[in-house]
Assembly symmetry: C2
Homo-oligomer: 328 residues x 2
């Protein structure tokens, strides 16, 4: 039996050592100092873990997928730097955001540089031409999808007329695609078959959706201390989540309008936030979202049936459970 | 004898056709519509031209470097989209900037997506693993350099204490590196030797510096109608250019302070702009910059001696002349 947390920790140390090396230049150039802030501010480094374990599941040395994992981790961090500008967030992983610390222009530039660095790091993956181009294609397209998802998300902020399908597609783009690039990328590096690559891709797609639904669910029902933020902050900010979209579909006109009023109000009282939470609970929206996350998680694990038995296969399953059963 | 303008035009049509194909999705997704704005708003497409001619100069079919050229063109456009946010510019190539039209968040996102698309396009370059990774490394590192240069440029805006060397390094990063990726990349695709790659790299580095100095020079002495903007706009905005840095080095204390006062004033009268222009002329700064641009141009052309005689070699030389002798 392998322990997921121990195994995540083990890879995290390898990844952090590599990042340390990557950012030595930060003493010399302010841009590199800014670039190093988020990657070195903690985090579980789940994406590199996923890339390495996926490659290992096909029997190759998992270190062959280390640079892919690092590359996606850097891309993930670049999107965070830019997202913080868009959301005007001031705190991230317990530190001041690049946007707050250095302003919009430098934060744009820092994200761009992290993105470029991701592709530089990827060149350390030794593959023959066709397979390497397939890997690069996967990584580049995943970022295109993240950008599409981000744009859709911003446009959803201006309407309550959102179909559940288009909402799921949006979170799939924003969240799943980088996981997909890790899992499918690991399979590409291992020389897996098209069917195996497809399964790993679907595994990560479904896991990513489950992860995001759970993330939004926790915001409403989680433990404030564990989350490190007040419960219901998504109600206060009017964020569109699966719970909200479901509720707007099933509530009667009067309640729907009341819920929209609360979501649109920028200065909600705690009583109003609670009122919205109760509405979501009573109409079954919380349970609906929890069930959907569980179903995506179950389906994600089913995709792994294509793999031979191994420690890695168990870890990939456990990772799904971690994502939908975590409490923070 | 080949005619440079005809040859540029010929490639521009090929590049524009390809871009047309790339952006068919723009009817369906707002992100793609925004992404298509700058690449489809005109421009000479000099970067793809440079990539193709460089590859052709080593005897291979220049179309093999088309995707590299397109990739760098998309990167160039991504930097423009982000620069326009940083500079709060409202017009670009005669159209509203993405920033002005869609706001900061969507403009950030559009730039990011163009950057990702650049790498997707690059995967169409058929090379074996090692050469392809070398090409990707060149492209990724060139964007890192652009970001470093951009950051340095923004920091220079807050001081007048700038050494000429560090200024040249900054414009080299901001302007030369994408040209380098085209010229050296073309050589990589053609399987050129290390020495040949180095020469092409130096050629483009020097040409890029000459190009930027000339660009800043034209702002001060150009023809308003040809430029499409008022002469001396860099004086009004207080931009640090080689002319300014040289003048600050050679002017006496009194004149130096007067020049700094004008540059720092955000509401200069035409008389004050003229006063600064005359100071730059009298102290020899205009001539100094022109001479430096000419020297870089001459040295760029010398790097081409490594190439066998060909139409492409002549075009590469003519391209340098175009860049330092253009009047707009």
């Amino acid at each position: 039996m392998v322990d997921l947390f121990e195994e995540i920790d083990k890879r995290r140390l390898v990844v952090n050592d590599y990042l340390e090396e990557l950012f030595v230049k930060k003493e010399e150039h302010i841009l590199w100092e800014m670039m190093s802030l988020y990657p070195q501010a903690g985090g579980k480094k789940l994406r590199p873990f996923l890339a390495m374990i996926s490659a290992g599941a096909f029997g190759i040395d998992e270190e062959e997928a280390l640079h892919l994992g690092l590359s996606i981790e850097l891309i993930h961090n670049f999107t965070l730097v830019h997202d913080d500008i868009m959301d005007q967030d001031e705190l991230r992983r317990g530190i001041e955001t690049v946007y707050k610390r250095e302003g919009i222009s430098s934060a744009i530039n820092t994200g761009d540089a992290l993105f470029a660095l991701a592709f530089k790091v990827l060149t350390n993956t030794e593959l023959e031409g066709k397979a390497f181009r397939e890997l690069l294609h996967e990584v580049a397209c995943s970022v295109l999808m993240v950008a599409e998802g981000q744009e859709e998300d911003m446009r959803f902020e201006r309407t309550f007329d959102i179909e559940e399908d288009e909402f799921i597609e949006m979170i799939e783009k924003k969240t799943s695609f980088l996981f997909r690039a890790c899992a499918k990328g690991g399979a590409i590096i291992a020389g897996a078959s098209d069917e195996e690559k497809r399964s790993m891709s679907e595994y990560a797609r479904k896991m990513g959706i489950a992860f995001q639904i759970q993330d939004d669910y926790l915001d409403l029902v989680g433990d404030e201390e564990k989350l490190g933020k007040p419960v219901g902050s998504d109600i206060r900010s009017g964020k569109r989540t699966l719970m909200i979209i479901h509720a707007l579909n099933v509530l009667d006109d009067k309640k729907r309008h009341r819920l929209i009023d609360i979501l649109e109000d920028e200065n909600n009282t705690p009583a109003e936030v609670n009122e919205a939470l109760e509405m979501l609970d009573r109409c079954g929206a919380l349970k609906y979202a929890k069930d959907r996350a569980e179903r995506y998680a179950r389906e994600a694990k089913e995709e792994l049936e294509i793999l031979p038995e191994s420690d890695q296969k168990e870890l990939l399953k456990d990772l799904v459970d971690l994502m939908v059963r975590r409490s923070s």
